[in-house]
Symmetry: C2
């Protein structure tokens, strides 16, 4: 490649929205505006690859900085999102659209499924000898992208989960019983683990945590809860929506059958798992006050609950993707790596699309206690800088008369 | 009554906690400290009447102002709460405890059930000729206390509901489908109605709202959703947990049987109603992406989501209860009344305990649209000052190429 690659840019969002996916979008747009010698028009596709195929493009270069800044602070995917892996014939359409609009820089913000899609489009472009830089910008509240220390969206969702648990734990202290929080995380327990940030004082919940990384045994679960309840008179449980039994079958799939284009089963948007677990506790232990809350889509969309570090990194990683594309061409995903040392610092590295596509990563063993129902101090060291400050809960001294 | 009534004070919290019930507690304590000529010791009972019977009292006069201020900003009931109506023999025990500790001023923070309890204790004291001032301090996120324009706890819970709907609506715009939010409110639709504050722009949800005040008809509901979905390609529904069918049977009670001491069925802490409605939509309309989120206990406990007006009034009403008790003796509930006029202003009035006890109030007809599935502009005028400012959602202009 000798001549400078010049052309238009297309950006799109994919997968589940987050609190900061728009911050990445806006970061990429603002950076692209600064790269006038390489990037001409800045297009956005509505609802990811679906919008590309249907030619539903918007001119993002015509959005005011004021609008962009407001969008950057707004949850959800401002361009619209999609859960779709393009089929071979659809890739032909997508590539044709790229050619029609002279698009040379394509940015896809999303998780592992989105990296896979970017990789498929990249391959298609190579096959037809069309020079197209395909960059994946990481995003997933599940924090399950390979190659990354953590991913944009996780810190803010983790903050929501921690805040929610702080409040629920205090609530449960007021009216004691068993409370089960069902938290997002299809294959990885990172978000559920984040609830442990709510432990500010002795006896604070969550008292038990269950992750998809360890087989879930109903009998052991009931015994765990009974034992905590006997000791404290109450028990706060945090459980991943994606918990699996010893055969690897998600507990929640026994109650739902909906599957998306990537073959994923619906785990969110239903209270079935929480209700099932609550019913088991009620039935087997005789404890009467058993409640379940499924945090659902609030975890990724509640306005105002944002981790500053997360938001900053979401913008940075997108800017770096644009900068890398115009300088180095090619195709890649930008991964966030943490530097060793006491102070929290990250670097952004280009990695092959294939390295983050398809498979997800799990919580490392060192973050899960040997009991399998708790986190380790190493996890707290890991997560604290990602979430930042949390509300401090006041408590009466309660000097008995 | 000629001589000034002097004695100790006892305060307790009852019913579901809220974001500002501790603000009321702390307001009462601080006011009591300023009333030294009447009030000696300031006792708190743990878990309401339960703690009084068991003699589980704490000395609130020994809490530092710093601790009290921290507690005031913390969700949950700091003294612990209870759902319990004392039986006649228990009232004897309660009164004996009052005598033992020379308690002459009793304050009970809670909803209509708590007002009833205060009224029962008041009656018992009269019967035995023990001079005891029983004051009820209003609290309920359901906003269903009679005599009150609104109640402490409602504004903050309404803010949570509005914020949640803002985020969920944006999320649903990203990945369109039908979304059902199940919102607290056993007999009154006030909290569900608050979700309408999320309508900032044309097309914003919630598009359909269902309240316990109007009979819920499954067929009409499905038709409503289908019609909105056809028009917008998506549909946001807000529904009260307490919706009833035409025979007056709560839809949710068909799926649960747990009942508390006041005869209330468990509606919260389960996703059953949302899942039932989602399944019906899926089955009858063929729409594939249908999700339900039950806001659950987050509505009353999520740290940081507080209406300033609500918090201020929660403290004020408690201070006025203490001031009224030491000046006027007797027993009463302090009600919040709104003054007529353009500017939002409230006054605090003493009303008989019996006037707020037992029965709850419903949303007035003028707040519910004739269609029965929406609110009216009059409701928005009513609620806006109670909730205060909400986050403003950014949106791309989206100029099509």
């Amino acid at each position: 490649m000798t001549a400078r690659l010049k052309g238009n840019m297309l950006i799109a969002q994919s997968g589940g929205p987050s609190m900061v996916i728009n911050r990445s979008l806006v970061g990429a747009i603002l950076e692209a505006k600064a790269q006038k010698s390489s990037i001409g028009k800045i297009y956005g596709a509505l609802h990811g690859v679906q919008g590309i195929m249907q030619g539903k493009l918007v001119d993002l270069g015509r959005e005011s900085v004021r609008t962009l800044r407001a969008v950057a602070g707004t949850p959800s995917a401002a361009l619209g999102s999609v859960r779709k892996k393009p089929k071979p014939e659809e890739c032909v359409t997508i590539l044709q659209m790229m050619k029609n609009y002279d698009i040379r820089f394509f940015f896809y913000i999303g998780g592992n499924d989105s990296a896979e899609t970017a990789s498929i489009i990249d391959e298609e472009a190579r096959k037809s000898n069309y020079e197209l830089c395909c960059y994946h910008i990481p995003k997933t509240i599940d924090n399950d992208l390979r190659e990354n220390d953590h991913t944009p969206g996780y810190g803010s969702a983790a903050k929501f989960v921690a805040c929610a648990m702080l409040g629920l734990d205090a609530d449960n202290r007021s009216l004691p019983g068993v409370h089960i929080s069902v938290i997002m995380g299809r294959h990885a327990g990172f978000l559920t683990a984040a609830s442990a940030l709510a432990r500010q004082n002795e006896g604070d919940g969550p008292h038990l945590l269950y992750f998809p990384e360890r087989p879930f045994d109903m009998e052991a679960f009931i015994n765990d809860v009974e034992s905590v309840y006997k000791k404290l008179g109450r028990c706060m449980v945090a459980v991943s929506e994606g918990i699996i039994d010893k055969d690897g079958t998600p507990i929640a799939t026994k109650f739902t059958k909906e599957v998306d284009a990537h073959g994923n089963v619906q785990l969110s948007g239903t209270g079935a798992l929480g209700d099932l677990l609550a019913a088991q506790i009620r039935e087997k232990t005789g404890i009467s006050r058993v409640r379940a809350d499924t945090f659902g889509y609030l975890q990724r969309s509640f306005p105002g609950v944002v981790s500053e570090v997360d938001a900053m990194e979401a913008e940075k990683v997108a800017r770096i993707a644009v900068r890398t594309a115009v300088k180095k061409y090619g195709s890649a995903s930008i991964a966030i790596k943490r530097e060793k040392g006491k102070k929290y610092r990250v670097v952004y590295e280009s990695v092959p699309l294939s390295a983050v596509a398809k498979e997800t990563r799990h919580m490392p063993d060192e973050f899960i206690a040997p009991s399998a129902n708790d986190i380790t101090p190493a996890f707290l060291d890991y997560i604290k800088p990602l979430v930042g400050k949390l509300p401090v809960m006041g408590r009466l001294k309660g000097i008995r008369v």
